[in-house]
């Protein structure tokens, strides 16, 4: 000790400073550990993180306008959209030059369908203009020729859209996902009859919570029973829990259709027992009820399994001890058993909630119009309307919503309090 206070450094046997030697040894250790996990890390980065980041990036990416019409974008930036007048000849000449190249590379129609998301009619405007461009007089004047090809070129609104979406990055998709748009006086909400996404987000969250709660309500007693029964019986019951888990999702969903529809098994039975009359058959499918019932059934194993594995570890001697100290059945359960099963509830609830928030096949089949989720709209924009930018921004919002809920959950329950077994 006295050595160091004298300003002398501790050294190893071969004269190197001890601190540095230690650090190097540690670094080597860390490097080795890192190299061991590197293959997995690279695999996850390449196959999981990178595609997601790429998809999320599409929600702001908008290079297509500047790539397809480079000269027009430069000339158009000088134009004042509030002037109420169509841009002058210079812009039209630039448009002509860009369009000739674009038509040659066949990229003009792609730009048309991109801008059509913002304003109806631009798709055919570009298609039509592309067909006419070869017949135009290349010495100009171009303004009249373009307006002659399609009068939408003489419309200020067309140019406003073109200018607004000229930058390489756009917030347009996100505004759209928030049911908003950029009007002449800044950001404004869309008209009431076009607002849908925020409403669907709300419904998705609400229905997911209801589904999680009903899974918990149904799953808890089953898991309790499974954990309490002797192994032979509980194994048999376990197979019954897992059996639907192994059945195709579509088969299970269709089975619910057969059961729940108005001329279905349940309604037929109720009419037969005279509980309801033929005119008063219950509507249990193609609405929220259908979605809740079918999804609760499908997600139930995801609640039961973590609950069961946690309950299995709770020693029966605690409850016995509580009872021998004078607690009745309820107190022993509520004060001793239940708190120990909370980590299982946490794990099951998080699992079911996150799965249900992104579900779309079951809601699509049994949800009718009042039971569909935001994921149904995302699927529509991916596979049908091809508006991948909007789909990506809706997906980003969904991801952020889940992460926020996860943080809230961590604050309230604590993430350490989640156990899968």
């Amino acid at each position: 000790m006295s050595d160091t206070t004298d300003g002398q450094v501790l050294t190893t046997q071969d004269g190197k400073p001890l601190k540095a030697a230690l650090r190097r040894a540690l670094r080597r250790e860390k490097l080795r550990a890192f190299l061991l996990i590197a293959p997995l890390l690279i695999f996850v980065l390449v196959t999981f993180v990178a595609p997601i980041v790429d998809m999320l990036f599409r929600s702001v990416e908008n290079g297509i306008v500047a790539d397809t019409l480079p000269n027009t974008v430069i000339e158009l930036s000088k134009w004042d959209p509030a002037s109420g007048e169509v841009p002058d000849e210079v812009v039209f000449a630039a448009l002509y030059n860009d369009m000739v190249v674009a038509v040659d590379q066949k990229t003009h129609t792609r730009l048309g369908s991109r801008l059509n998301y913002e304003q109806s009619g631009i798709s055919s405007l570009f298609r039509k203009t592309g067909r006419r461009i070869k017949r135009m007089d290349e010495d100009g004047p171009f303004k009249d020729q373009f307006i002659g090809a399609d009068k939408k070129w003489g419309d200020v609104a067309t140019w406003q859209v073109l200018q607004q979406f000229s930058p390489r990055y756009t917030d347009g998709y996100f505004l759209n996902a928030f049911d908003a748009k950029r009007g002449p006086d800044g950001i404004e909400m869309k008209p009431d009859d076009q607002q849908i996404y925020m409403f669907l987000f709300g419904r998705t969250l609400f229905l997911s919570i209801v589904i999680t709660l009903s899974c918990l309500l149904l799953g808890y007693p089953i898991a309790f029973l499974l954990a309490a029964l002797p192994l032979r019986t509980s194994n048999l019951l376990m197979i019954l829990v897992l059996l639907p888990f192994w059945t195709s999702l579509l088969v299970r969903t269709s089975a619910w259709k057969v059961l729940l529809q108005q001329q279905g098994v349940i309604n037929d039975f109720l009419v037969w027992t005279r509980l309801i009359d033929d005119a008063g058959r219950l509507v249990m499918i193609n609405n929220q009820t259908g979605t809740i019932i079918a999804m609760t059934h499908i997600l139930l194993p995801f609640m039961i399994l973590p609950l069961y594995s946690v309950m299995k570890t709770i020693s029966p001697s605690y409850v016995r001890a509580a009872k021998s100290l004078g607690a009745n059945d309820w107190t022993a359960f509520w004060r001793v058993y239940f708190p120990q099963s909370v980590p299982g509830i946490g794990a099951g609830a998080v699992l079911v909630f996150i799965l249900s928030i992104g579900y779309y096949i079951t809601p699509e089949l049994v949800g009718g119009t009042s039971g569909i989720f935001i994921s149904n709209r995302i699927a529509y924009h991916i596979s049908s309307s091809l508006n991948w930018g909007l789909a990506a921004s809706l997906g980003t919002l969904l991801l952020v919503a889940v992460l926020v809920l996860f943080v809230v959950y961590d604050k309230i329950v604590g993430i350490d309090n989640v156990k899968l077994g």
Binding site: T109, S120, Q195, I196, Q263
Partner: protein, 366 residues
């Protein structure tokens, strides 16, 4: 040593042999009865004549546009020929994902020498589209409903008439066709429909008309749903593709009848993806030329009740392959069925689809 050489030589031979003789062509279609009609009418006879060709089917037509776009971005298009509806063909052409064709060069002329472009006529709705069949979206209704008191729907507006024909209806969960029918039944003349629908007021008018039956509608998204709903008596009238109703009525013998009034014609056909290597493209073009000639298109009608897209095929349509009934009266294009038809405007919907669909979904969710 000898054995080893022999095996090696054999393997080498097998490899060169397979690459020289056999070509795998991946065709994308819709699955089900439609795909098997294509298999029976086009590809089975073709592979029998060309033993080197193997056809692999992929049932992805419903997501073809999105998948093709993703494949194209990844730079790995694995499809050779894709069956899509006309509106998707237009989108794929716009996106540069489908190849433009020259009808008179790439497609066979009619037996009497009429060039293909004339034989297909107006049905060549896009430079990339090779039409196969004309199908229609139309209504079927149950013929055993007591509450109707012996009356049967005869025209499209009966779908909106809940007093005479009470009961649930099934309609497709998208604005296309529904908006047009609503306007037609709200007194808009046929030729004015798209002009009216272009305006905000026109769209509101259509939604208002749909509002009158909204509580009695089951919305479908897959073509198989309406036949099932009709068979289960869940709905009493429903729209779907005419071929599905044919199967329900003639093959499954359900008490259902066709309501052909204001049926909406649509087209289905092939597109060739862009960027195929030369040799594959040559094979694909050969297959397409064969599969869309007059006889092949007429043959397809033996297996499914969709009308051939060539004018010259119509007289050759015969009897159903297994039921033995005349197919001509079941074609949407038959004069008796086509007394009042509605023409779907592709260009118009390409422009207004995004906008109106957003409104339609918001209207549904309300």
């Amino acid at each position: 040593m000898k054995l080893k050489t022999l095996i090696l030589a054999g393997t080498a031979l097998a490899f060169t042999g397979s690459s020289a003789l056999a070509t795998d062509l991946t065709l994308v279609s819709w699955g089900g009865a439609y795909q098997s009609s294509q298999k029976n009418a086009y590809t089975d006879p073709y592979t029998a004549e060309n033993p080197g060709i193997t056809v692999i089917w992929d049932e992805s037509s419903a997501e073809a546009v999105a998948k093709l776009r993703a494949m194209n971005e990844a730079g790995n298009v694995t499809w050779d020929l894709v069956d899509v509806v006309a509106s998707d063909a237009i989108r794929l052409c716009d996106e540069g994902l489908a190849m433009e064709i020259d009808a008179d060069v790439d497609l066979a002329a009619a037996p009497d020498g009429t060039p293909a472009s004339e034989d297909f006529g107006d049905l060549l709705v896009s430079e990339c589209f090779i039409p196969q069949i004309v199908y229609s979206t139309t209504f079927g209704y149950r013929s055993d409903i007591d509450e109707w008191g012996g009356k049967e729907p005869t025209e499209i507006c009966d779908v909106f008439d809940l007093e005479t024909f009470p009961g649930k209806r099934s309609l497709e969960k998208r604005p296309i066709n529904n908006m047009e029918w609503a306007l037609l039944c709200d007194g808009v003349p046929k030729e004015e429909v798209y002009n009216v629908l272009e305006t905000e007021e026109g769209q509101d008018q259509a939604f208002k008309k749909l509002d009158t039956i909204k509580d009695n509608v089951v919305w479908w998204s897959a073509g198989a749903e309406t036949p099932q709903l009709l068979a289960d008596k869940e709905v009493v009238i429903g729209s779907t593709y005419n071929g599905r109703l044919f199967a329900l009525i003639e093959e499954q013998k359900q008490p259902v009848k066709m309501l052909w009034d204001a049926q909406v014609f649509d087209l289905d056909g092939w597109i060739i993806p862009t960027g195929l290597p030369e040799d594959r493209l040559a094979e694909v073009k050969k297959l397409v030329k064969y599969a869309t000639d007059t006889q092949r298109l007429a043959d397809q009608a033996k297996y499914i009740s969709y009308g051939p897209a060539r004018k010259s095929s119509a007289p050759l349509v015969g009897q159903h392959a297994s039921l033995g009934i005349d197919m001509a009266p079941h074609m949407p294009t038959d004069p008796n069925n086509a007394k009042n038809t509605f023409l779907y405007n592709y260009e118009w919907w390409a422009d207004y689809r995004d906008d109106i669909d957003a409104k339609f979904q918001a209207w549904l969710a309300q």
